[in-house]
């Protein structure tokens, strides 16, 4: 049996190896739906139908767009802030010591606490929603970039000094390339966490967005609706990973042969 699977699986290319298990799971899921309660676990075909209906006749695109907007703004804000704080902490020992306690608190405080406090202080506003997500993410970016800044190769800065490179060249040709792997790490992690937090924020205090919609489906025990929105969401995540992150990363890190 094992040998047979290997014979089928081994000749596939990378994409085939990625896709085959997913297809198998979906097929099994579809078949098993014939023998179980479709209210508890709707079949993939039913979810796809609903997804299609919600997309072309319902408000799915609007809610997805609102969520993506929140994700984009808070992601950018968190990346910029976290990167600056992380680099400063990695380079200057005094900054590191001053902020380290706050960093540990920021990393460990439950997302829910930050969300609720932001809503209480700033009301159920868009600003509060985005602020809550950003605050949740900044410490994680900072930790990653601090590692990167600590790992900067001092010997290359000596080269820069001997050959009298400009500050701009030092930043763009020596510092940033060394930080890139850490930035990519933070981007990946960042997106993954932010999706999750944005939905909670929307559930608790927004009147639109995927989180708000899923909250609505929850009230009616509409599992198909929940899964249809989740599926739309997954498609966006994969599109970003495959169309944006991977090619950009591959290009920027092509010097690692």
């Amino acid at each position: 049996m094992w040998q047979a699977i290997k014979r089928w699986y081994a000749p596939l290319d990378g994409n085939g190896m990625r896709l085959l298990p997913v297809i198998l799971v979906v097929i099994l899921w579809q078949i098993s739906g014939n023998f179980s309660d479709n209210k508890i676990l709707p079949q993939p075909s039913a979810i796809l139908n609903l997804l299609q209906k919600e997309t072309f006749e319902g408000d799915l695109l609007f809610h997805l767009g609102m969520t993506l907007r929140r994700v984009a703004i808070s992601f950018l804000a968190a990346m910029v802030l976290g990167t600056l704080i992380g680099i400063a902490m990695g380079i200057y020992d005094a900054v590191d010591k001053a902020l380290d306690t706050f960093l540990v608190i920021g990393l460990n405080i439950p997302a829910l606490v930050i969300i609720i406090i932001c809503y209480i202080w700033f009301g159920l506003t868009e600003f509060a929603a985005i602020l809550a997500v950003t605050i949740n993410k900044v410490p994680m970016v900072a930790v990653s970039l601090r590692e990167g800044a600590r790992a900067l190769d001092k010997r290359l800065f000596q080269v820069a000094q001997v050959y009298k490179l400009s500050k701009f060249d030092i930043l763009t040709k020596i510092v940033l390339p060394q930080l890139l792997p850490y930035i990519f790490g933070a981007v990946r992690n960042g997106l993954a966490i932010i999706w999750k937090i944005v939905l909670v924020v929307e559930l608790l205090g927004c009147s639109n967005g995927v989180g708000f919609q899923i909250g609505g489906f929850f009230h009616f025990f509409d599992i198909a609706g929940v899964l249809a929105y989740t599926f739309a969401f997954m498609l966006v995540v994969f599109a970003i990973e495959v169309l944006a992150l991977r090619p950009v990363e591959k290009y920027l890190l092509r010097w690692r042969t």
Binding site: V162, Y163, D169, W255
Partner: protein, 250 residues
């Protein structure tokens, strides 16, 4: 006329290790000086001090007779490792340093320079795609392309196999004769020093100072395995038997 005059009273590391004490020497313009000393004698520290990478010392480093502003002196530095930027292509690595030299006798384009060191067609490659010897060539080229007044070299050919090192030594000599920078070539290999330099400075063990200045008469590079080098090598060791141990001479 001395172009470079070094007078380091004291260089002590924060951990109280005294690396250099009372180290003095001068170099004329275009002179090729090899600096030989036992390992751990503070040779790398000396180069770092001269290059201005290490400013925690007492004493002076003067260029062109007076204490010239460091910004007026163009330096080339060949480190023990190549220290190329791995994310930049060979061409970008060279362009990076060329941009900032105000002395710009760029009669040669980067392609002509590459050809000149036998790296034609390698401009678009990344350092990791080159062999160790080729990476050295790029580093050597980077040091020369800025048209340096002073070229500092810290055991640059140490990790290479013998034929590659010999090739690079003769390339170095060729480049040196064309533009005649003052060269300080640190090595712990006396044969190598004899084969390239016009003068050898012997350093003592830590705290290091100059214990002997030994002029050589020849200007052309010679093979490190040649009889000429062997004869000279023998002569030096017979005259100064304790030299390479880094002991102070009486």
């Amino acid at each position: 006329m001395s172009f470079l005059s070094i007078d380091i009273q004291d260089k002590t590391y924060p951990n109280a290790c005294v690396a250099i004490q009372q180290l003095k020497f001068t170099a004329t313009q275009g002179e090729f000086i090899a600096i030989v000393g036992p390992s751990g004698a503070g040779k790398s520290t000396l180069l770092n001090v001269i290059a201005g990478l290490d400013t925690q010392f007492s004493g002076s480093v003067r260029f062109g007779g007076s204490e010239l502003a460091k910004s007026d002196v163009t330096l080339g530095f060949l480190f023990q490792e190549c220290r190329l930027m791995p994310w930049l292509t060979v061409r970008q690595n060279l362009q990076l340093v060329v941009k900032h030299t105000h002395a710009t006798p760029h009669t040669k384009t980067i392609d002509e320079w590459l050809q000149c060191v036998g790296l034609q067609g390698c401009g678009e490659l990344f350092p990791a795609q080159l062999s160790g010897g080729m990476q050295r060539r790029v580093a050597l080229l980077r040091a020369f392309i800025v048209a340096p007044d002073v070229l500092l070299m810290d055991e640059p050919f140490q990790s290479l196999d013998a034929p590659t090192a010999a090739q690079l030594r003769s390339l170095l000599h060729e480049l040196w004769q064309n533009s005649a920078p003052t060269v300080l070539f640190v090595t712990h290999n006396l044969r190598e020093a004899i084969s390239v330099a016009s003068k050898i400075l012997f350093l003592s063990a830590r705290p290091s100072k100059v214990i002997l200045e030994y002029p050589l008469t020849r200007l052309a590079p010679i093979d490190i395995e040649s009889d000429e080098v062997s004869t000279e090598h023998k002569k030096i060791l017979e005259t100064y038997p304790n030299l390479l141990a880094g002991l102070h001479l009486d």
